[in-house]
Symmetry: C2
Subunit: 337 residues, 2 copies
């Protein structure tokens, strides 16, 4: 029936509540035989400590929050997996919140977490978050927070990212090597750290060809429908011969756009993308991808957070962790024969 408590164990065993509590947490001041009796009864009655009482008393909850834009995104689901692996190991629990790329929602979630609900926060910023007023209370209350992937540069907090700039540089060079003369960069949101870094890498690569390779910048939205129109239109009017998709879903939309226009990949347009698609190699044509170490980023971010929680001074290498992505070249950027 109703859950059983320490008080009930105490009454049953003719012991004080405090004694039972201490026995359960294996305190040194309780005799071996008392401990044994308490544990035996606890097991028998299937006693489970009340997490809320416990969290209230000690001022920590053994719970962390993960705040992400969305989950229907391979990158984030792999990150969560990594986070959960570490959390499980540490016996922590994970509350999950989606902002749906919405600053308002992001602010609400954070507002709620200010109450001491969680011991720490792992976060990746929403796409349309343009100012960070809502983040300041976090630092004021001293709640440990680690940003991953979409970081907040203006807030002093540890970050875990991938080498967006270098990977983009490399990828853009690759596009140029296979003959692209006019490359479009599909941007997801100018407010996002990752988008900026990737675009910078892209532009720097373009710049090395001083004028011999043209570049194009297409700002996309969060609405797939609208993106499809934007990309189709861009392909039809500007006729780029290369597309650099900053995120996975823009690559997919580009594939659809090409199909609708009858453009052949890679003959007419070459495409590559940051992506964690498991089916990249099975696409028609197989998609050249920059694979982010999503799982490792999750594990790493969680590890940094737990170090903060355990008050180990964050070592320098933990302030800004960078884990490298790797590019896998496939048919979507092959030189057409």
């Amino acid at each position: 029936m109703s859950a059983i408590t320490i008080k009930m164990l105490a009454r049953e065993l003719n012991l004080a509540i405090s004694t039972v509590s201490r026995a359960l947490m294996d305190s040194y001041e309780i005799s071996a035989e008392t401990k044994e009796k308490v544990h035996a009864l606890a097991r028998q009655l299937n006693y489970q400590p009340n997490h809320y009482a416990s969290s209230l008393r000690r001022q920590r909850s053994k719970t962390i929050a993960v705040i992400i834009p969305e989950i229907s995104n391979n990158f984030f689901s792999h990150v969560i997996n990594g986070i959960e692996a570490i959390a499980q190991e540490k016996n922590y629990h994970v509350l999950i919140y989606f902002t749906h790329e919405n600053q308002q929602k992001e602010a609400e979630v954070i507002q709620h977490l200010l109450s001491g609900r969680v011991d720490g926060i792992l976060m990746s910023m929403a796409g349309n978050t343009s100012n960070i007023q809502h983040l300041h209370p976090i630092r004021e209350q001293g709640i440990p927070i680690v940003f991953f992937d979409r970081i907040c540069a203006d807030l002093d907090a540890p970050t875990v990212t991938t080498d967006d700039f270098d990977s983009s540089l490399l990828a853009t060079h690759h596009l140029m090597e296979v003959g692209c003369k006019k490359i479009a960069y599909l941007s997801i949101s100018p407010h996002l750290s990752i988008d900026c870094k990737r675009m910078q890498g892209f532009q720097q690569a373009i710049a090395t060809k001083n004028g011999n390779v043209a570049s194009l910048l297409l700002p996309c939205s969060t609405d797939p429908q609208r993106n499809q129109e934007l990309i189709t239109n861009m392909l039809a009017t500007e006729k780029p011969d290369g597309i650099f998709a900053s995120v996975e879903k823009l690559a997919i939309t580009s594939y659809h756009a090409c199909a609708s226009l009858g453009l052949a990949i890679p003959a007419d347009v070459k495409i590559l993308s940051f992506s964690n698609l498991e089916t990249a190699s099975l696409l028609n044509p197989a998609l050249t991808t920059i694979i982010q170490p999503a799982h490792d980023m999750g594990k790493s971010a969680a590890t940094v957070l737990f170090n903060m929680l355990e008050k180990r001074k964050t070592r320098n290498w933990e302030r800004n962790t960078v884990i490298r992505s790797s590019m896998i070249i496939r048919r979507s950027t092959q030189i057409a024969r």
Copy 2:
């Protein structure tokens, strides 16, 4: 700084704690002007109620748990999305747990949740869960639970599923219509409700051809590496001309296996699968899929749970909700010309 409490508000305003508490929850017995003063100060100091104290006092936490096998699976990430949509609406919080298809882990999670940590549970069973001893305490303690997709038939609880049997029947008939004479069913786990239902639909369809169509049953594992070997071997020795993959990842593995053997899809082998892959239509060849209404299943399961929490008697139609899947025929099951 440290979080601010009702007690501090009370002292500041020279009111009793109880008055402040009641003012904050808009109790009718507090005068309008007092309420106004309290709210003003609360806003000014950015007061956030302590969730743990509140949960301890009233005996509910406004939190639900979602227990799923894994997240790197399109189906489950869409379900989570649906669940979160409803939870957000109801101002509930979501704790997420992964069992990694492991009964042991599943038992541990449930064991912990018995403490009143959550008001309700949404669950999809782990692949290797063969007995359900660990589920009984849930019912004994009367914690509301709703199963979705991978249900537990032996436990009296509401379920939300898709029409696995009918969809499989339909899909298998489709395979036979396009000329398959020897069809392999790739099973993920015989302990799983969905696998059983799907296999039954498959077998029933085969049976209608009394002997004219051969069937094959390949039990797969949770290890992709091993599955690749199993499927490759099966393709090489048994030479089926059709594959019915019970879950998405087995279809992907089948594609790889065909590639490694140089088998053409759909000319040599036709393939279809239950799947929520967004890239199904972009695969080479495009994959015929039975698309589960994942998002709706999540929303529906959450809705049923909240109805239970709000003590509305579960109406009959809510005991076992079935939401239909839809098959989309693509090139992987086309008649080869």
